[in-house]
Amino acid sequence: MSDIQSNIEISSVAVGASAAPRESSHSSSSAPFVRAVDAIYEYGGNRKRPSHTIGPVSLTVEAGERVALVGGNGSGKSTLLHLLSGASTPVVGCIEWFGESDIRLVRQRIGVVFQSPALDALLSIRETLLLAGRTLRMCRRAIASRVDELCELLSIGDRLDDRVGTLSGGLTRRVDLARAILHRPDLLLLDEATASLDQHSAEDFNAALDRLSGEGVTVVAATHSLDEAGLADRVIAMKDGLIDFDHRTDQSNGWRDVSHETGSLTIVDPDAATVSRLRDLGVSQSAGVNWRVEPGQLDDSTLGLLVREMSSQDVVLQRDDGAVSTKDASASTVERLQRGELS
C-alpha cells in the first residue's frame, strides 16, 4: 500500500475549465451525484470467510465530472462500479445517489455499460432498443424519438434493422451504449467498455462519450487505457480493493489542454532517452538544445501521451502561451501508471 491515504473522501472542489461541472438535467438538489461512504464489499468464499474484500472506499462524484477508474486486474474497479450502479450492496457503509440511499428511487437516472455487451445476438438493433426502453419504463413514443437521436449521435441509423450478432465489435459496443443512455441518464457507468475494441473503434466510442460528457452526463468509466484516462477530468486508481490515489487531471500541467490546436510545444533540453523517443515520433530539433512539436505534426492522442511521458520524466515543456510544465503530484501519478504498477 502506498503512503497515499487509501481511504480518502474528496469533497466538491473548484476545478478548472476543462473539468467544470456542466449543466445537468438532474433535479435542483445540490447533493453530490454519487457518494460512497466507507463502503466495504465482500465476495467469494463464504459469508463468514469471504475470499475477497474491497474497501473501505469513500468517494464523491460531482455533477458533470468525467472520472476514470484505473487499476490492475483484480484491483476492485469492477466491484466498485457494481456498487456505484446498485447492482451490489456494500456489507458495511453506504452508497448514495443524488442524495438518496435507496437505489430503487433513482435507477431511472443511471445508465450502465458492463464489461461485455448485454445484448441479444438474435435481436435487431431496433428490437434491442425497444426492449431496453420498455424495461426502462419508457413509453413507445419516447423510445422512438430517442432512438432517432441516438442513431445520429452514435451513427447506428443505417444498421437499425440488422441483428446484433451481425455487427462488428465496435458497432455492438455503440449499440450497448445506446441501450445504456436511451433514458437520458444523469449518471453513466462504464466497465472497461472499450477493452475488446481496436484503436479505431475505441476512438469512435470515446468520441461518443465526449459528446455525452459535453451534454452534461456524469461519466465514471473503469479502464486500462492511459489514453482514456487522459480524457477524464479526474483519475481514481484502485489497488488491492482500496483507492490508491484520486487526482484531478486539470491540475496536471495541461494533460487535457495540449492539442495541436493550442499551438506548438517546445521540449526544453531533453535527455538522450527523450531525444530518441522524439526521433521515433518524427519530431525534429529546433534551435539549440530544444525540440519543437509543430501544430498538426502529431495527432492529439499521441501528443497527449508524449506530454504525459515527458511530465513523468521531469522534462520541461513549454507551450506557445509561455506556460511551463513542472513536475507536480500528477507526474508521479503518471510515472506509476507508466511503470505498470497500476495496469
Binding site: 455487451p117 445484448l119 428490437e127 420498455r134
Partner: protein
C-alpha cells in the same frame, strides 16, 4: 426575457421522469415475454430439441410395450394415452429446463444484470421469465395433446380442455420452480446437475412410464411425494387414461401456485444479499 424560468424547466424535466416511471410495469413484462418468444422462434433447434425427445419416447414406448401390456385394445389405448400425458409432461419439463438455462445464459451474458440495474423490479423479471416459459411449454405440449386426440379413443374437447388446464398449471409450477433454482446458478454446467439428478428422474418417477401401483415401496414413496406424479395423474385423468381424482387436481393447483411463489421469493432473497 424567457417565458420559462430555469426552475420551471427543471420541474418539467422531473415531471417527464415521473411520467416515465408511471408507465405500467406490465409493459416491461410484456416486452420481456416478447423478447423470449422472439429468441425461441429464431432458434428452431430449441423447439425441435424440446419436441423430438418426448415424441420419440412416446412412439418407442407405445410401440414397444403395446404387445406385452394388455390383452385388450382398451388397455393398450389407456397406456397410449397415459404415455401421451407423460410425453406432454416431458415437453413441459424440457421447456422449463430450457427456460431456466436461458435465465442462466442471460445472467452470463450480462443481459439480466443490465435489466436489474434498471427500474424494472425483480418480481417483474421473474414473472416475465415464468410467463414466457409457460407460453412456450403449453404451446409445445399442445402438439402432444393433439396427437393424443388422434390416437386416443373417446378423447373429447372437454377432456382436452381439462388436460390443457392441467398442463397450464403444471407449466406454471414447473417453470416457477426451475426459475427459482436457476436464479441461484451462475453457470449452465451447474444447472445440468439439477436437470440430470432431479428433473429428469422426477419425470421418470411421475407415472409417465410405469404406473405407481406397480413399483416397490421406496419408489412408491418417491412417486407419492413427487409433484410430477400428481401432474401426470391429472393430465392422464382428463384424457381418460386413468380415474381422475380431486386430490391430484388440488395438488396440481397448489403446485401451480407454489412454483411462482418460489421464484419470486428466490429473487427477493437474492436482492437482499
Amino acid at each position: 426575457m424567457s417565458i420559462l424560468s430555469a426552475e420551471t424547466m427543471d420541474t418539467w424535466t422531473v415531471r417527464d421522469r415521473e411520467i416515465g416511471s408511471q408507465m405500467t410495469v406490465l409493459h416491461a413484462v410484456g416486452a420481456m415475454i416478447v423478447r423470449d418468444l422472439r429468441l425461441i422462434l429464431r432458434r428452431p433447434s430449441r423447439i425441435a430439441a424440446t419436441l423430438l425427445t418426448p415424441t420419440l419416447i412416446w412412439a418407442f414406448f407405445a410401440a414397444g410395450f403395446s404387445g406385452s401390456l394388455g390383452e385388450t385394445a382398451q388397455h393398450q389405448s389407456a397406456y397410449t394415452l397415459s404415455l401421451a400425458a407423460g410425453a406432454a409432461l416431458l415437453v413441459v419439463t424440457f421447456a422449463s429446463i430450457f427456460g431456466a438455462l436461458g435465465l442462466i445464459r442471460d445472467r452470463e451474458s450480462g443481459y439480466l444484470q443490465a435489466v436489474l440495474v434498471g427500474p424494472t423490479p425483480r418480481w417483474a423479471v421473474i414473472v416475465a421469465r415464468v410467463a414466457s416459459g409457460v407460453v412456450i411449454a403449453v404451446g409445445q405440449a399442445m402438439t402432444m395433446l393433439g396427437a393424443a386426440m388422434i390416437f386416443g379413443e373417446g378423447v373429447g374437447p372437454l377432456d382436452l380442455a381439462g388436460a390443457t388446464a392441467a398442463i397450464l398449471l403444471t407449466a406454471i409450477g414447473l417453470c416457477g420452480a426451475c426459475t427459482a433454482l436457476a436464479w441461484h446458478f451462475r453457470s449452465i454446467e451447474g444447472f445440468h446437475g439439477i436437470m440430470a439428478g432431479v428433473l429428469l428422474p422426477a419425470w421418470l418417477l411421475s407415472g409417465s412410464v410405469f404406473p405407481p401401483g406397480e413399483s416397490g415401496v421406496v419408489l412408491g414413496v418417491l412417486m407419492a411425494v413427487n409433484p410430477l406424479t400428481w401432474c401426470h395423474a391429472t393430465i392422464a385423468g382428463f384424457l381418460g387414461a386413468m380415474p381422475l381424482s380431486a386430490v391430484s387436481v388440488s395438488l396440481v393447483v397448489a403446485f401451480g401456485v407454489f412454483g411462482p411463489v418460489c421464484a419470486v421469493t428466490a429473487a427477493r432473497g437474492d436482492a437482499k444479499r
